[in-house]
Amino acid sequence: MRGRAIRFCLVLWSAGVLSFLCLPVIAVLPISFSASSFLNYPLPGLSLHWYETVLQPYPWMFALKNSLIIGSSATTISVVLGTLASYGLTSGKFAGKQIVLALLISPMVIPVVIVGLGLYFFLNRIGLFGTYTGLVIGHTVLALPFVVMTVTATMQGFDRSLVRASASLGSRPLSTFFQITLPLIAPGVISGAIFAFSTSFDEVVVALFVSAPSQLTLPRQIFSELRDQIDPAIIAIAALLICVSICLMTAVEFLKKRSARLTQAVR
C-alpha cells in the first residue's frame, strides 16, 4: 500500500518535471495556426497562412537552403576529422593524449561568443569572412567535439582483437578500417553526425559574427525576425524545426540500441 503511494508520488513528480520542460514549447505551437498577426491567445481563427509564409522562397526557404548546405558540409568535415581523431586517441599510445583530447573538446566548454569573436578576427585575417567556407569552418569547430565524444565512447567498447584477427587473416590496415572497424563503430559515427548537424543547424552566434547576408542561415533569419517584427511565422518555422529535431533524436536512440545489440553480441 505504502509502496504504491510512493510510486504514485514519483510518477506525479516526474510528470511535473517533464511538463515544466515541455509546456513552454507546446504552449506556443498553436499560435502558428493563428489567423491574426499577433502572438496572443485566444486565437481569433485558424489559418495555415503562416506556414505558407515560411514556405515562400525568400527569406525563409533561402535561409533553410543555406542552413542545409552549411550544416551538411560542416557535418561531413567534422565527422571525417573527428572519427580519425578518436581512432588515433583510443588506439595510440603517446604522451599528451589527454591534452589533445581536451583541446578537441574545448569548443564545447568555451563560451560561443568567445569562439565567434576569435573566428571573426581569424577569418578576416585569412580573407574568408563572409564566405560559405568561413561559416563551414566555424561550424566545424563547434561540431567537432560532439563527433569526438560519441565516436570515442563507441571506440571504447570496440574489441581491438578484431583488428588483430583481421590482420592475421591477410587484411591491410586501411582495408581493416573500412571492413571491420568502421562498420562496427558506425552507430557512434552516425549519432556523432546527427549531433554535429543539429549543432550547425541551430547555431546563431558564430553565424552572426562571420557571415554576410548571402549566407543567411535559418537561426539568423529567426533572430532578425524576432528583432524587427514578431509574427506567428517564427512559430511556424519553429514547429517545422521541432519536427526535424524529433526525427533526428529518434534516429539517435535507434542507433544507440543497435550499437548496444552489436557490442553485446561480441561478449
Binding site: D159, S161, L162, R164, A165, S166, A167, S168, L169, G170, S171, R172, P173, S175, Q179, I180, P183, L184, L262, T263, Q264, A265, V266
Partner: protein, 402 residues
C-alpha cells in the same frame, strides 16, 4: 655425456652452436620457425622474454605451457606479428620476420575470445581471408563449404556469431584460421572460455583436424592436462625462459627441473642433502636421518642441497610385490577419496609428508584408516634429484596451485 647443465639457459630444442650466424646465412632447415636469441623488454629493465631459442618443426603440434606472465603468449604474439622483439630474430622458413607485417605473414591465428566479426555471418567470417586474397567468387564458395564441413557447421553458415554457442564460435574461428591453408596456425588458449566437457570435445576435434591437414600448430595454454593430451612436444615456460622442451612423456617422466615436475601433474617435494652421487644414482639425506636414492639430473657434489620429486602415482603402498630401492614406514595422516583413486598422505619422517595416489582397485582391497602404519616404496628411476627452486619460482608455483 650423461648429465645436462640445467642453469636456466634457454637452449633446449636448439641445436645450433652459434645462433647469431643463422641471422647472416639463412639456410633451408627442417624447422619451420626458429627463435634465435629472442629478447623482449617493454621498459629496458625487466625482460619479458630472455634469450629464447626455440625450433618449431614442420607439421608438429607444439604447446607452449606455463603460468601466466611466463612469456608464452608474448612469444606467440611476436610470431603472429602483433608484438616486436628487442633483440635476436625470429626466422620463418629461414627468413627473418622482423620487417614482415602481420597481414603478410600468412599465419593463421585463433584467439582466446574467438575474435569473430560480429557484423558478418558465419559464411562471411570464414570467407574473409579469401576475400583479402582476391580469390575468385567461384572458387570461394566451394572452399567455404569445405571448411565449414570440416568443423561440422554446414547448417549454420547464415547465422551471426551472436547466435552461436561458445563451442560453435570456436569452430568458426578455427575454420577462418585454416581456410587460407596457412603452413602455421597459432592458437592462444583457444579453449579457455569453454566449460570442461566442451573443452575436452574440442581438444579431440583440434587434434583430428591437425592430423587430417598436417599443418604446424603452436598452441598456448596454462592447462597442463590439455598440453599433455594434445601435443607432440611441450615447451614449459617460466619467467620468460624455456625450462624444458620435449615430448609429453619425456616431460612428465623425466622432468629436468623441479619446476617442470611440479607444474606438470601431481608431485611430492622433499628437500635433502647429497651424501653420495654418481652417474646413475645419488643418496640424499632428508631430515631425521632417512636416506632416499634418486636419479640426479646432473652431478651434485657432496653436501649440496637438492629437491627430490616423486610422482604420487608411482609410490606403491603394497611394496612386497616389487623390488624397490626406497622403502619407508609412514603414518597415515589423511585420506582424500576421489572416486577412481584415493590420495593417502603419510608422514615418513619429522616434517616430511608424502602423498601416495592409490587406484580404486588397490584401495578397495586394503582398507586403511588414519593413524595406521603404512609401508611405502618407490624405485630410484621414478625419483629425481633436482636443483632447489629459487624463491620467486616457488611462489609462482604456489600461486598456480592456489
Amino acid at each position: 655425456m650423461r648429465f645436462h647443465m640445467i642453469n636456466r639457459a634457454c637452449d633446449f630444442g636448439s641445436d645450433i652452436d652459434d645462433p647469431r650466424s643463422m641471422e647472416v646465412v639463412p639456410e633451408k632447415s627442417e624447422s619451420l620457425v626458429r627463435f634465435v636469441d629472442v629478447e623482449k623488454t617493454y621498459d629496458g629493465r625487466t625482460t619479458v622474454i630472455e634469450r629464447l631459442n626455440l625450433d618449431v618443426r614442420h607439421g608438429e603440434f607444439l604447446t607452449l605451457l606455463g603460468p601466466s606472465g611466463s612469456g608464452k603468449t608474448t612469444s606467440l604474439m611476436m610470431l603472429a606479428g602483433f608484438e616486436s622483439w628487442t633483440a635476436g630474430d625470429i626466422l620463418y622458413q629461414g627468413r627473418s620476420l622482423r620487417s614482415v607485417p602481420a597481414y603478410r605473414r600468412n599465419i593463421g591465428v585463433v584467439f582466446q575470445n574467438y575474435a569473430l566479426f560480429p557484423h558478418m555471418t558465419v559464411r562471411e567470417n570464414v570467407s574473409y581471408p579469401l576475400k583479402q586474397r582476391r580469390v575468385p567468387r567461384s572458387a570461394k564458395a566451394g572452399r567455404v563449404d569445405e571448411a565449414l564441413r570440416m568443423v561440422e557447421l554446414e547448417g549454420l553458415a547464415g547465422r551471426y556469431p551472436a547466435q552461436l554457442s561458445g563451442g560453435q564460435q570456436q569452430r568458426v574461428a578455427l575454420a577462418r584460421a585454416l581456410i587460407f591453408n596457412p603452413d602455421l596456425v597459432l592458437m592462444d588458449e583457444p579453449l579457455g572460455a569453454l566449460d570442461k566437457r566442451l573443452r575436452e570435445q574440442m581438444q579431440v576435434e583440434i587434434k583430428r583436424i591437425h592430423e587430417a591437414i598436417g599443418m604446424t600448430v603452436v598452441y598456448v595454454t596454462h592447462d597442463q592436462s590439455e598440453a599433455l593430451t594434445m601435443s607432440d612436444r611441450i615447451a614449459v615456460f617460466n619467467r620468460g625462459c624455456i625450462e624444458q622442451i620435449g615430448s609429453p612423456k619425456d616431460l612428465y617422466e623425466r622432468p629436468k627441473t623441479s619446476f617442470v615436475a611440479n607444474f606438470l601433474g601431481g608431485n611430492n617435494n622433499l628437500e635433502g642433502v647429497i651424501v653420495r652421487c654418481d652417474d646413475a644414482s645419488c643418496d640424499v639425506r632428508i631430515s631425521d636421518g632417512l636416506t632416499i636414492m634418486a636419479q640426479p639430473v646432473r652431478y651434485f657434489s657432496q653436501g649440496e642441497r637438492v629437491s627430490i620429486s616423486i610422482r604420487p602415482e608411482l609410490i606403491a603402498t603394497d611394496p612386497n610385490s616389487r623390488k624397490l630401492d626406497n622403502l619407508f614406514w609412514g603414518t597415515l595422516e589423511n585420506i582424500t577419496y576421489c572416486g577412481d583413486h584415493a590420495i593417502l598422505r603419510c608422514r615418513i619422517a619429522g616434517e616430511n609428508s608424502i602423498d601416495a595416489k592409490v587406484p580404486l582397485s588397490v584401495y578397495r582391497v586394503t582398507p586403511v584408516a588414519c593413524g595406521d602404519r603404512v609401508r611405502l616404496g618407490w624405485t630410484t628411476e621414478d625419483c629425481w634429484a633436482h636443483e632447489l627452486l629459487d624463491g620467486s619460482t616457488a611462489s609462482v608455483l604456489q600461486s598456480v596451485a592456489g
